[in-house]
């Protein structure tokens, strides 16, 4: 609506401040990415991103991020459930500590997790001696770091939805004779599914791009534990901006796909519940 002017004054000034800061911080840099990308030659782009080492980097990033996010969905669901439904000692402590991965610098988490999981670290030696499993400097290590940074996402998106579910739905199911497993599957799960999906995709998208906590624990062996963001970093250190941008464009594409899948999934679910999108 063009002619709808609110009576609340201050439209001009807030628009001005918002657009100015947004332009400097986001829009102009984004434009320069577009401009720079347009200058890349297609053959060079394809050659760069299909190099085996780069492809392996994408594979390592996506596969570890996926596994870590699946683990976080399961654990996030359990954590959200106990925080909303149960009373127990230390509940407030758990509620507070869940946010730690947001508050603790990723590099700090990275070096600590690395030291804990090397073959002579506190946790690492147990796994190495008992099962012969190495954690640090393997893909398992990368996954561990990504689980760490992804913990809050699923919990924080499921928790508020679970809190809002009216206990009457469950009571209704119970009176109708459903056992608690059926009640969970048929009544509660559909309600929290959108939140689970959005928590998963947010954690997944964040994990794919994660750098700080992963570089230390990964060991960065080419074809084995080299993640895509690290590959961008090494190209940048060699001042090969074209290669760095090419790798980054593919990663941005992957992010867009993940976030679109989320948007579509949310649309489908909300359509089912509300009758329309």
């Amino acid at each position: 609506m063009n002619n709808r002017r609110s009576v609340i004054p201050g439209f001009g000034i807030s628009l001005g401040i918002t657009i100015t800061i947004l332009s400097i911080v986001v829009l102009i840099p984004l434009c320069s990415l577009v401009v720079f990308s347009a200058k890349l030659s297609l053959s060079e782009f394809v050659y760069t991103v299909t190099r085996p080492r780069i492809l392996s980097g994408y594979f390592v990033s996506i596969s570890t991020a996926f596994i870590a996010s699946v683990v976080n969905v399961v654990m996030g669901l359990i954590l959200a459930w106990i925080l909303v439904r149960y009373d127990f000692k230390g509940k407030r402590f758990i509620d507070g500590i869940i946010e730690l991965p947001f508050a603790l610098p990723t590099a700090v988490a990275g070096i600590s997790l690395t030291h804990l999981t090397t073959t002579n670290g506190w946790v690492g030696q147990i796994f190495y001696k008992l099962f012969g499993i190495k954690i640090a400097y393997t893909r398992i290590g990368i996954t561990v770091a990504l689980i760490f940074i992804g913990i809050p996402f699923v919990v924080r998106s499921v928790q508020p939805v679970l809190e809002k579910i009216d206990i009457q739905y469950e009571e209704a199911a119970f009176i109708l004779g459903a056992d608690s497993r059926t009640t969970f599957r048929k009544v509660i799960f559909p309600e929290i599914l959108p939140a689970i999906i959005s928590g998963f995709t947010l954690a997944f998208a964040r994990s794919i791009g994660e750098y700080g906590s992963v570089v230390f624990i990964a060991g960065n062996t080419p074809y084995e534990t080299e993640i895509a963001p690290l590959l961008i970093m090494s190209e940048l250190q060699e001042y090969d901006y074209s290669a760095a941008t090419s790798i980054a464009l593919v990663m941005l594409g992957i992010s867009v796909i993940i976030l679109s899948i989320n948007a579509v999934a949310q649309g489908i679910v909300s359509k089912r519940v509300n009758g329309k999108a």
């Binding site: 609506m1 002619n3 709808r4 002017r5 009576v7």
Partner: protein
């Protein structure tokens, strides 16, 4: 003399046509109700007068001046929001003083005015409270005082009683009417409740689907509905399609629908009425609703379920009983206007009542 006028106002919200060629004229000192179902555009009209919305076309005139381009704060209006919109982080005192402080009125004058208003609304001693510590009725009165504080020429109220319990609502209606009469301030309020409009307003403007259907005094509207919408909206009308089957009513050309109100119908036990012995028709009672001060009878006649009111003191009627039913008047819709048809036995001397 017209104080507030709207000329050919049109307003769209995206594709929704919220106001269609609105023409309104309100006299100084009148208490006017904008009455209509939800979505009929009544609140939009109020918000345009306040300057909260801009019309797409047409003129808004206050006191002879076109105010389309005058900001709401300079139109000399006070506005009471539906949910009061009291500033939740200010005390009652600060709420009422806000408009005066904006106008840079000296603090001692403000104190005088706020005290005066607190007395007027019977809220002395509440000035240090926050809105969350007030009852619904108190909130409403504080909102009223806040709107009045800068001495506006016009008071606009958006569904002023909607958020209040039924019992307090009745009290507040009377209170508000007395207040406004006492202050002699031109007031316009929006409501979807016809009882409220009829009881409180000097004049009612009925809106429907973005248009003004009719305006006039409550009595006029009640007695002479100008449009089919008003005929069925005001009063608890029952729609009847085969009204010509009723005894002593003729079919009018170009019409098919009629509306019958409970107060147009009398129900008698068989043989109870001598007066309408010949002109009444038989009906079967299907439902009896005890209303405390009276009794509503629902009786089936010619396939229609009509309502009638009987006094508590009348002889008792039971469900399933065959009764005599007499209809005094009906509203017949002819094309787009309404005519009042009276039972022929009451006008025609040749018919034996």
């Amino acid at each position: 003399m017209a104080y507030v006028e709207l000329h050919d106002i049109n307003k769209h919200f995206k594709k929704f046509h919220a106001s269609k060629d609105i023409n309104i004229s309100i006299e100084k000192g009148k208490l006017v109700a904008l009455l209509g179902p939800s979505g009929s555009g009544k609140t939009t009209i109020l918000r345009m007068i306040a300057g909260l919305e801009q019309p797409d076309s047409g003129e808004i005139i206050i006191d002879g001046k076109v105010v389309n381009n005058v900001p709401g704060s300079e139109r000399g209006i006070g506005f009471v929001f539906q949910n009061y919109a009291l500033f939740r982080y200010m005390t009652v005192y600060d709420n009422i003083a806000f408009g005066l402080r904006v106008k840079k009125v000296p603090e001692d004058k403000i104190k005088e005015r706020v005290t005066e208003l607190l007395t007027l609304i019977n809220c002395e001693g509440l000035e240090k409270r926050y809105p969350s510590q007030l009852s619904g009725g108190q909130k409403q009165r504080v909102a009223f005082a806040r709107a009045l504080a800068p001495n506006p020429q016009i008071l606009l109220l958006d569904e002023p009683f909607a958020a209040i319990d039924a019992k307090v609502r009745l009290e507040l209606r009377t209170w508000l009417r007395q207040m406004i009469t006492k202050l002699n301030i031109t007031s316009i309020f929006v409501t979807h409740d016809q009882d409220e409009a009829i009881e409180v307003a000097d004049e009612i403007i009925v809106t429907n689907q973005g248009k003004v259907e009719q305006s006039g005094s409550p009595q006029e509207l009640y007695k002479y509905p100008a449009t089919p919408f008003v005929a069925q909206f005001i009063g608890n009308s029952v729609e009847v399609n085969n009204y010509d089957e009723f005894k002593h009513f003729d079919r009018k050309a170009n019409s098919s629908v009629a509306y019958i109100r409970p107060e147009f119908v009398s129900v008698f036990k068989k043989g109870e009425s001598v007066q309408f012995a010949n002109s009444a028709e038989e009906a079967v009672v299907e439902d009896i609703i005890f209303r405390g001060s009276n009794i509503e009878i629902k009786a089936r006649i010619h396939g229609n379920l009509l309502s009638a009111i009987r006094s508590i003191n009348d002889n008792e009627i039971k469900v399933g009983e065959v009764v005599d039913l007499f209809i005094y008047r009906i509203y017949v819709v002819e094309d787009d206007h309404v005519i009042l048809a009276t039972n022929n036995s009451l006008v025609d001397e040749t018919i034996v009542i």
